[in-house]
């Protein structure tokens, strides 16, 4: 039993070390910055622009559900109606736009990164780059990282706006709140720092999604089965780390 624990610990530490060695390779000086720039633009489209649709749809319905649930839980006349709008706004800004969106992106972007890099590994495309003398880790991962670090805050802002819009539509259509009350609520006691807090979290989450998924893909050994496993691991580990860092960052930034 102790031997098994010891082995697991060694395995964990080895993986941990490999992760940081990979990051060292990723952040080393690029061979041709202009090529990295082009790759980054490409990744901005693949990983960023192409994620707007899913983020918009999910945020809209999330905002709608938050509004309806808040309304049904604050039916007591003691509570002013505008609290529904305030609840929707703060929920979207503080938690849903950053954390839930990050979990969704871990599924979409994370699995995409892990399977793309993993497939390149098993089909020897990464070896081909290494043979040419290209720093494959940097060339493949750095543009993805920059793209997500730049674009995920934009996705978060989009999620906030569309989520609140979804709340307004659902609230007014269901007749649980008037348009005036909702708009008053989303303006009431607004703290701009909450947006900054949300964006800081998003940047951390973007880094986690890209680096963890790329790590899983880069060290795949085997065939298509292993690429599938790496993709699953990328989503699971990214999601767990996002939730863990959500707690840590909330404690640091809001305490």
């Amino acid at each position: 039993m102790r031997v098994l624990k010891y082995r697991r610990m060694i395995k964990f530490l080895t993986q941990f070390g490999r992760y940081f060695l990979l990051l060292k390779k990723v952040f080393s000086k690029p061979e041709k910055p202009v090529l990295y720039y082009k790759q980054t633009l490409r990744e901005l489209v693949y990983l960023g622009l192409n994620s707007i649709g899913i983020i918009a749809i999910i945020s809209f319905f999330m905002g709608a559900v938050i509004t309806l649930q808040t309304a049904y839980n604050t039916e007591n006349p003691i509570y002013p109606k505008y609290l529904i709008g305030l609840g929707c706004r703060d929920s979207m800004i503080l938690e849903f736009s950053s954390t839930i969106a990050a979990l969704i992106l871990a599924g979409k972007v994370g699995s995409n990164i892990a399977s793309e890099i993993g497939t390149m590994r098993v089909t020897e495309q990464i070896d081909a780059m290494e043979i040419m003398g290209v720093n494959s880790a940097s060339y493949l991962i750095l543009p993805k990282m920059i793209a997500t670090l730049l674009f995920n805050p934009i996705l978060t802002l989009i999620a906030i706006i569309i989520g609140i819009f979804g709340g307004w539509i659902a609230g007014t259509l269901a007749g649980v709140i008037t348009s005036e009350n909702f708009i008053y609520g989303i303006q009431y006691a607004f703290i701009p720092y909450y947006i900054v807090y949300s964006l800081i979290k998003t940047v951390f989450f973007a880094f986690i999604i890209t680096s963890v998924s790329a790590f899983q893909g880069y060290y795949v050994d085997g065939g298509s089965l292993e690429v599938g496993r790496a993709s699953t691991k990328a989503v699971v580990y990214s999601s767990v780390l996002i939730l863990l860092f959500n707690v840590i960052l909330t404690q640091i930034l809001l305490s």
């Binding site: 390149m120 089909t123 290494e130 003398g133 720093n135």
Partner: protein, 251 residues
């Protein structure tokens, strides 16, 4: 010239290559042959530095390659071209972009110059009007040719080919072999080819080493191979019934 001296490589404590010493000559097509799983690919990948070796030396001319750091290896690697078993073309790039990739990375040539070089390399391997196709749109033989074009784009001094004929029909395989031999002579490269295809051995085997269970068992050329005393080599060379019959007839 590439010299390998007492090379050892193991995975998880299991020895895969033991005490391999060999000289690969310039301007010749050097073949590493052996059964599947004998350690050919591991040897080739150890020579090019894709696998860290346990002990031994790999010399490129007068440079001890396996002791170099990343920057030092990068310099030697800019003189290498490699053809992988599955071609290893970049899926997201077109044929032209694949061949242009090393030129984009390591030269400061203008776009026109690079495209001119790409077209020259593609013409050299008989790929015409395929610049804008993606690898998924190519046949196996075409993929190999494009991979060769990419490998020679930077005029390499060393060419490595891992099972260049795998998955190809005999006629296409002979064409690929002939192309490798021609390019080796034309550019005076040191070429190392991993294969278990006896047709390749008889077509282009100017220098051959035979590996069995990670150990070098025999060294010679295509003229010597049919008259060897090495039992494991004979089992390999005369594995099929046609070869066995021919041997009996010749005796």
């Amino acid at each position: 010239m590439i010299r390998v001296i007492k090379l050892n490589k193991s995975f998880n404590g299991k020895a895969v290559l033991e005490n391999i010493s060999v000289i690969f000559e310039t301007g010749k097509t050097n073949l590493i042959i052996g059964r599947s799983g004998s350690g050919k690919t591991v040897l080739l990948k150890s020579i090019v530095g894709l696998h860290e070796i346990d002990s031994g030396e790999v010399w490129y001319e007068d440079t001890l390659f396996n002791k170099l750091d990343f920057a030092g290896k990068k310099k030697i690697r800019s003189e290498m071209g490699m053809l992988f078993q599955g071609s290893a073309l970049f899926d997201s790039l077109t044929v032209e972009q694949n061949v242009r990739f090393p030129l984009d990375m390591f030269t400061d040539s203008s776009l026109e110059e690079k495209i001119e070089r790409v077209n020259f390399c593609l013409n050299r391997v008989d790929i015409i009007n395929a610049n804008n196709l993606f690898p998924s749109e190519l046949s196996g033989g075409m993929k190999k040719r494009v991979a060769i074009a990419r490998a020679i784009a930077l005029n390499p001094k060393y060419l490595f080919c891992d099972e260049p004929n795998s998955g190809l029909d005999p006629i296409t395989a002979i064409l690929i072999d002939a192309l490798i031999k021609e390019l080796t002579e034309e550019y005076s490269m040191t070429t190392i080819v991993n294969t278990h295809d006896m047709n390749s051995v008889m077509e282009i085997g100017e220098k051959i080493i035979f590996i069995s269970d990670g150990v070098k068992c025999w060294e010679g050329n295509k003229n010597d191979i049919l008259n060897s005393d090495c039992g494991t080599l004979n089992d390999f060379v005369f594995a099929n019934s046609l070869a066995k019959k021919l041997r009996t007839v010749s005796k």
